[in-house]
Symmetry: C2
Subunit: 167 residues, 2 copies
Protein backbone atom coordinates (compact mmCIF):
# COMPACT_ATOMS: atom_id res chain seq x y z
CA UNK A 1 0.00 0.00 0.00
CA UNK A 2 1.19 3.45 -0.78
CA UNK A 3 -0.04 6.66 0.70
CA UNK A 4 -1.39 7.55 -2.69
CA UNK A 5 -3.64 4.52 -2.70
CA UNK A 6 -5.65 5.98 0.15
CA UNK A 7 -8.23 8.30 -1.31
CA UNK A 8 -8.22 11.76 0.22
CA UNK A 9 -10.74 12.81 2.78
CA UNK A 10 -13.90 14.79 3.46
CA UNK A 11 -15.35 15.80 1.19
CA UNK A 12 -12.98 13.61 -0.82
CA UNK A 13 -14.47 10.20 0.00
CA UNK A 14 -17.12 9.82 -2.65
CA UNK A 15 -20.18 7.70 -2.12
CA UNK A 16 -19.00 5.38 -4.89
CA UNK A 17 -15.54 4.92 -3.35
CA UNK A 18 -17.08 4.26 0.03
CA UNK A 19 -19.61 1.76 -1.31
CA UNK A 20 -16.96 -0.02 -3.36
CA UNK A 21 -14.66 -0.41 -0.37
CA UNK A 22 -17.33 -1.36 2.16
CA UNK A 23 -18.68 -4.02 -0.19
CA UNK A 24 -15.33 -5.71 0.43
CA UNK A 25 -16.11 -6.14 4.10
CA UNK A 26 -17.90 -9.50 4.07
CA UNK A 27 -21.22 -9.72 5.87
CA UNK A 28 -23.91 -12.23 6.56
CA UNK A 29 -27.32 -11.80 4.97
CA UNK A 30 -30.43 -11.61 7.11
CA UNK A 31 -34.11 -10.84 6.86
CA UNK A 32 -35.48 -8.74 9.71
CA UNK A 33 -39.14 -9.51 10.35
CA UNK A 34 -41.84 -8.21 12.60
CA UNK A 35 -45.59 -8.24 12.94
CA UNK A 36 -47.31 -5.27 11.36
CA UNK A 37 -50.92 -4.23 11.84
CA UNK A 38 -51.85 -6.01 8.60
CA UNK A 39 -49.61 -9.06 8.89
CA UNK A 40 -45.96 -9.99 8.72
CA UNK A 41 -43.47 -7.50 7.30
CA UNK A 42 -39.74 -7.71 6.74
CA UNK A 43 -36.73 -6.58 4.78
CA UNK A 44 -33.27 -7.76 3.85
CA UNK A 45 -30.54 -6.44 6.15
CA UNK A 46 -26.80 -6.94 5.91
CA UNK A 47 -25.91 -4.72 8.87
CA UNK A 48 -26.39 -6.95 11.90
CA UNK A 49 -23.90 -7.58 14.66
CA UNK A 50 -23.67 -9.37 17.95
CA UNK A 51 -23.57 -6.81 20.73
CA UNK A 52 -23.37 -8.36 24.19
CA UNK A 53 -23.75 -11.70 25.92
CA UNK A 54 -25.20 -10.32 29.18
CA UNK A 55 -27.88 -9.63 28.29
CA UNK A 56 -27.86 -11.55 25.00
CA UNK A 57 -28.26 -8.70 22.55
CA UNK A 58 -27.64 -7.82 18.93
CA UNK A 59 -27.66 -4.67 16.89
CA UNK A 60 -29.47 -4.05 13.61
CA UNK A 61 -29.04 -1.00 11.38
CA UNK A 62 -32.05 0.02 9.32
CA UNK A 63 -32.44 2.99 7.02
CA UNK A 64 -34.39 5.78 8.68
CA UNK A 65 -37.00 5.72 5.94
CA UNK A 66 -37.47 1.93 6.20
CA UNK A 67 -41.10 0.88 6.62
CA UNK A 68 -39.90 -2.18 8.47
CA UNK A 69 -38.17 0.11 10.98
CA UNK A 70 -41.48 1.85 11.71
CA UNK A 71 -43.21 -1.48 12.23
CA UNK A 72 -40.37 -2.81 14.44
CA UNK A 73 -40.58 0.23 16.71
CA UNK A 74 -44.38 0.06 16.85
CA UNK A 75 -44.39 -3.65 17.61
CA UNK A 76 -41.50 -3.57 20.07
CA UNK A 77 -40.24 -6.97 18.93
CA UNK A 78 -38.57 -8.35 15.82
CA UNK A 79 -36.68 -11.35 14.53
CA UNK A 80 -33.34 -11.62 12.78
CA UNK A 81 -33.38 -14.51 10.30
CA UNK A 82 -29.93 -15.46 8.97
CA UNK A 83 -30.13 -16.78 5.41
CA UNK A 84 -28.35 -20.03 4.64
CA UNK A 85 -27.03 -20.67 1.15
CA UNK A 86 -30.14 -22.73 0.36
CA UNK A 87 -32.37 -19.70 1.02
CA UNK A 88 -30.17 -17.00 -0.51
CA UNK A 89 -32.90 -16.10 -3.00
CA UNK A 90 -34.88 -14.61 -0.12
CA UNK A 91 -32.41 -11.72 0.07
CA UNK A 92 -33.73 -10.42 -3.24
CA UNK A 93 -37.33 -11.29 -2.44
CA UNK A 94 -37.25 -9.25 0.78
CA UNK A 95 -35.53 -6.26 -0.83
CA UNK A 96 -38.41 -4.96 -2.94
CA UNK A 97 -42.17 -5.09 -3.27
CA UNK A 98 -45.05 -5.16 -0.84
CA UNK A 99 -45.10 -7.17 2.35
CA UNK A 100 -47.44 -9.65 0.70
CA UNK A 101 -45.06 -10.06 -2.24
CA UNK A 102 -42.10 -10.54 0.08
CA UNK A 103 -43.79 -13.29 2.07
CA UNK A 104 -45.36 -14.98 -0.99
CA UNK A 105 -44.46 -18.66 -0.91
CA UNK A 106 -42.29 -18.22 2.17
CA UNK A 107 -42.77 -20.61 5.07
CA UNK A 108 -42.84 -18.93 8.47
CA UNK A 109 -44.17 -19.47 11.95
CA UNK A 110 -45.14 -17.02 14.66
CA UNK A 111 -42.80 -17.10 17.62
CA UNK A 112 -43.77 -14.84 20.51
CA UNK A 113 -46.01 -13.15 17.95
CA UNK A 114 -43.18 -12.46 15.49
CA UNK A 115 -42.90 -14.19 12.11
CA UNK A 116 -39.81 -16.40 11.97
CA UNK A 117 -38.68 -17.80 8.62
CA UNK A 118 -38.56 -21.58 8.54
CA UNK A 119 -35.56 -21.49 6.19
CA UNK A 120 -33.39 -19.38 8.49
CA UNK A 121 -30.18 -21.01 9.71
CA UNK A 122 -30.21 -18.74 12.75
CA UNK A 123 -33.38 -17.18 14.12
CA UNK A 124 -33.25 -14.73 16.98
CA UNK A 125 -36.43 -13.18 18.35
CA UNK A 126 -35.69 -9.90 20.10
CA UNK A 127 -37.36 -7.21 22.12
CA UNK A 128 -36.36 -3.69 21.19
CA UNK A 129 -34.03 -2.52 23.94
CA UNK A 130 -33.33 0.93 22.57
CA UNK A 131 -32.78 2.68 19.28
CA UNK A 132 -30.78 5.67 18.18
CA UNK A 133 -30.70 7.55 14.92
CA UNK A 134 -27.24 8.15 13.44
CA UNK A 135 -27.12 10.03 10.16
CA UNK A 136 -29.65 8.35 7.87
CA UNK A 137 -29.93 5.08 9.76
CA UNK A 138 -31.42 3.83 13.01
CA UNK A 139 -29.46 1.48 15.22
CA UNK A 140 -31.87 -0.86 16.96
CA UNK A 141 -30.70 -2.86 19.96
CA UNK A 142 -32.49 -6.18 20.26
CA UNK A 143 -32.45 -8.16 23.49
CA UNK A 144 -32.73 -11.79 22.43
CA UNK A 145 -35.62 -13.71 23.94
CA UNK A 146 -35.48 -16.87 21.78
CA UNK A 147 -32.70 -18.17 19.60
CA UNK A 148 -31.95 -21.27 17.57
CA UNK A 149 -29.29 -22.16 15.04
CA UNK A 150 -28.39 -25.04 12.77
CA UNK A 151 -25.32 -25.95 10.75
CA UNK A 152 -26.45 -25.00 7.26
CA UNK A 153 -23.88 -23.28 5.08
CA UNK A 154 -24.39 -19.54 5.40
CA UNK A 155 -24.58 -16.94 2.69
CA UNK A 156 -21.93 -14.22 2.66
CA UNK A 157 -22.29 -10.96 0.81
CA UNK A 158 -19.00 -9.76 -0.59
CA UNK A 159 -18.17 -7.57 -3.55
CA UNK A 160 -21.87 -7.25 -4.35
CA UNK A 161 -22.18 -10.99 -4.87
CA UNK A 162 -23.42 -13.83 -2.70
CA UNK A 163 -20.95 -16.50 -1.68
CA UNK A 164 -21.23 -19.83 0.08
CA UNK A 165 -18.99 -20.42 3.06
CA UNK A 166 -17.61 -23.67 4.33
CA UNK A 167 -17.31 -26.52 1.85
Amino acid sequence: MTTESLLPAPPGVSGDAFRHAMARLPTGVTVVTTQGPDGPVGCTVNAVMSLSVRPPALLVSLASESRTLDRVLECGSFAVNVLPWSARHLARQFATGTAAQRFAGVSWQPQRGIPVLTAASVAAVCEVGSSVHVFDHALVVGVVTCIRADEQHPTVLYGNGQHRVGG
Copy 2:
Protein backbone atom coordinates in the same frame (compact mmCIF):
# COMPACT_ATOMS: atom_id res chain seq x y z
CA MET B 1 -38.20 -25.64 12.43
CA THR B 2 -40.49 -26.47 15.28
CA THR B 3 -41.51 -24.22 18.10
CA GLU B 4 -39.56 -26.48 20.41
CA SER B 5 -36.35 -25.76 18.54
CA LEU B 6 -36.46 -22.15 19.67
CA LEU B 7 -34.95 -21.95 23.11
CA PRO B 8 -37.13 -20.21 25.66
CA ALA B 9 -36.58 -16.65 26.70
CA PRO B 10 -35.15 -14.35 29.37
CA PRO B 11 -33.59 -15.57 31.47
CA GLY B 12 -33.74 -18.69 29.30
CA VAL B 13 -31.23 -17.68 26.61
CA SER B 14 -27.95 -18.83 28.08
CA GLY B 15 -24.68 -17.20 27.17
CA ASP B 16 -23.55 -20.44 25.55
CA ALA B 17 -26.68 -20.75 23.41
CA PHE B 18 -26.38 -17.13 22.35
CA ARG B 19 -22.67 -17.43 21.49
CA HIS B 20 -23.24 -20.67 19.60
CA ALA B 21 -25.99 -19.16 17.49
CA MET B 22 -24.32 -15.81 16.85
CA ALA B 23 -21.14 -17.56 15.73
CA ARG B 24 -23.29 -18.77 12.83
CA LEU B 25 -23.80 -15.23 11.61
CA PRO B 26 -20.77 -14.82 9.32
CA THR B 27 -18.65 -11.71 9.78
CA GLY B 28 -15.56 -10.15 8.34
CA VAL B 29 -12.44 -9.93 10.45
CA THR B 30 -10.79 -6.59 11.09
CA VAL B 31 -8.10 -5.00 13.18
CA VAL B 32 -9.01 -1.61 14.64
CA THR B 33 -5.92 0.56 15.09
CA THR B 34 -5.16 3.94 16.53
CA GLN B 35 -2.26 5.99 17.75
CA GLY B 36 -1.65 5.75 21.49
CA PRO B 37 0.60 7.96 23.55
CA ASP B 38 3.36 5.35 23.31
CA GLY B 39 2.86 4.20 19.74
CA PRO B 40 0.40 2.26 17.66
CA VAL B 41 -2.25 0.14 19.36
CA GLY B 42 -4.95 -2.12 18.01
CA CYS B 43 -7.20 -5.10 18.52
CA THR B 44 -9.10 -7.67 16.51
CA VAL B 45 -12.76 -6.76 15.98
CA ASN B 46 -15.45 -8.77 14.24
CA ALA B 47 -18.27 -6.33 14.95
CA VAL B 48 -17.96 -3.70 12.22
CA MET B 49 -20.70 -2.51 9.91
CA SER B 50 -21.23 0.06 7.24
CA LEU B 51 -23.55 2.75 8.59
CA SER B 52 -24.23 5.52 6.08
CA VAL B 53 -23.02 6.82 2.75
CA ARG B 54 -23.68 10.52 3.47
CA PRO B 55 -21.50 11.06 5.32
CA PRO B 56 -19.44 7.94 4.66
CA ALA B 57 -19.53 6.30 8.07
CA LEU B 58 -19.12 2.95 9.73
CA LEU B 59 -19.82 1.53 13.15
CA VAL B 60 -17.45 -0.44 15.37
CA SER B 61 -18.40 -2.23 18.57
CA LEU B 62 -15.68 -2.52 21.20
CA ALA B 63 -15.91 -4.03 24.67
CA SER B 64 -16.24 -1.32 27.30
CA GLU B 65 -13.09 -2.52 29.06
CA SER B 66 -11.06 -2.51 25.82
CA ARG B 67 -7.79 -0.60 26.09
CA THR B 68 -8.02 0.13 22.39
CA LEU B 69 -11.39 1.78 22.99
CA ASP B 70 -9.81 4.18 25.50
CA ARG B 71 -7.06 5.04 23.04
CA VAL B 72 -9.53 5.51 20.16
CA LEU B 73 -11.61 7.96 22.19
CA GLU B 74 -8.50 9.82 23.39
CA CYS B 75 -7.05 10.07 19.90
CA GLY B 76 -10.32 10.89 18.16
CA SER B 77 -9.35 8.90 15.08
CA PHE B 78 -8.92 5.24 14.22
CA ALA B 79 -8.59 2.87 11.30
CA VAL B 80 -10.51 -0.26 10.38
CA ASN B 81 -8.24 -2.76 8.62
CA VAL B 82 -10.09 -5.63 6.95
CA LEU B 83 -8.02 -8.82 6.97
CA PRO B 84 -7.67 -10.70 3.70
CA TRP B 85 -7.16 -14.45 3.73
CA SER B 86 -3.41 -13.93 3.32
CA ALA B 87 -3.26 -11.97 6.58
CA ARG B 88 -5.73 -14.01 8.62
CA HIS B 89 -3.03 -14.83 11.18
CA LEU B 90 -3.17 -11.21 12.32
CA ALA B 91 -6.58 -11.85 13.90
CA ARG B 92 -4.90 -14.00 16.53
CA GLN B 93 -1.89 -11.71 16.83
CA PHE B 94 -4.07 -8.69 17.60
CA ALA B 95 -6.26 -10.54 20.09
CA THR B 96 -3.76 -10.91 22.94
CA GLY B 97 -0.55 -9.46 24.31
CA THR B 98 0.91 -6.01 24.51
CA ALA B 99 0.72 -3.41 21.79
CA ALA B 100 4.38 -4.07 20.97
CA GLN B 101 3.70 -7.81 20.65
CA ARG B 102 0.69 -7.20 18.45
CA PHE B 103 2.61 -4.98 16.01
CA ALA B 104 5.78 -7.13 16.06
CA GLY B 105 6.73 -7.91 12.48
CA VAL B 106 3.64 -6.16 11.13
CA SER B 107 4.07 -3.67 8.30
CA TRP B 108 2.10 -0.47 8.75
CA GLN B 109 2.16 3.15 7.66
CA PRO B 110 0.81 6.25 9.33
CA GLN B 111 -2.12 7.75 7.50
CA ARG B 112 -3.45 11.00 8.94
CA GLY B 113 -1.50 10.01 12.02
CA ILE B 114 -3.17 6.61 12.37
CA PRO B 115 -1.37 3.31 11.81
CA VAL B 116 -2.78 1.49 8.78
CA LEU B 117 -1.83 -2.14 8.18
CA THR B 118 -0.14 -2.71 4.83
CA ALA B 119 -1.74 -6.16 4.56
CA ALA B 120 -5.32 -4.90 4.92
CA SER B 121 -7.59 -5.53 1.94
CA VAL B 122 -9.74 -2.58 2.99
CA ALA B 123 -8.39 0.29 5.09
CA ALA B 124 -10.68 3.03 6.32
CA VAL B 125 -9.34 5.89 8.40
CA CYS B 126 -12.09 7.47 10.48
CA GLU B 127 -12.73 10.34 12.81
CA VAL B 128 -14.83 9.47 15.84
CA GLY B 129 -18.26 10.93 15.16
CA SER B 130 -19.92 9.81 18.36
CA SER B 131 -19.97 6.89 20.72
CA VAL B 132 -22.57 5.33 22.96
CA HIS B 133 -22.31 2.64 25.59
CA VAL B 134 -24.84 -0.18 25.31
CA PHE B 135 -24.63 -2.91 27.93
CA ASP B 136 -20.96 -3.93 28.09
CA HIS B 137 -19.90 -2.53 24.73
CA ALA B 138 -19.30 0.87 23.18
CA LEU B 139 -20.61 1.62 19.72
CA VAL B 140 -18.22 4.00 18.00
CA VAL B 141 -19.33 5.85 14.89
CA GLY B 142 -16.45 6.56 12.53
CA VAL B 143 -16.74 9.14 9.78
CA VAL B 144 -14.46 7.92 7.02
CA THR B 145 -11.78 10.37 5.91
CA CYS B 146 -9.64 8.03 3.75
CA ILE B 147 -10.50 4.67 2.26
CA ARG B 148 -8.92 2.17 -0.09
CA ALA B 149 -9.72 -1.39 -1.05
CA ASP B 150 -8.28 -4.14 -3.20
CA GLU B 151 -9.59 -7.43 -4.50
CA GLN B 152 -7.84 -9.87 -2.17
CA HIS B 153 -9.93 -12.77 -0.92
CA PRO B 154 -11.37 -11.81 2.44
CA THR B 155 -11.44 -13.81 5.64
CA VAL B 156 -14.81 -14.73 7.06
CA LEU B 157 -15.37 -15.82 10.64
CA TYR B 158 -18.07 -18.44 10.92
CA GLY B 159 -18.68 -21.17 13.47
CA ASN B 160 -15.55 -20.11 15.34
CA GLY B 161 -13.36 -20.86 12.32
CA GLN B 162 -11.85 -18.70 9.62
CA HIS B 163 -12.96 -19.28 6.06
CA ARG B 164 -11.85 -17.97 2.70
CA VAL B 165 -14.46 -16.47 0.44
CA GLY B 166 -14.53 -16.36 -3.33
CA GLY B 167 -12.56 -19.00 -5.19
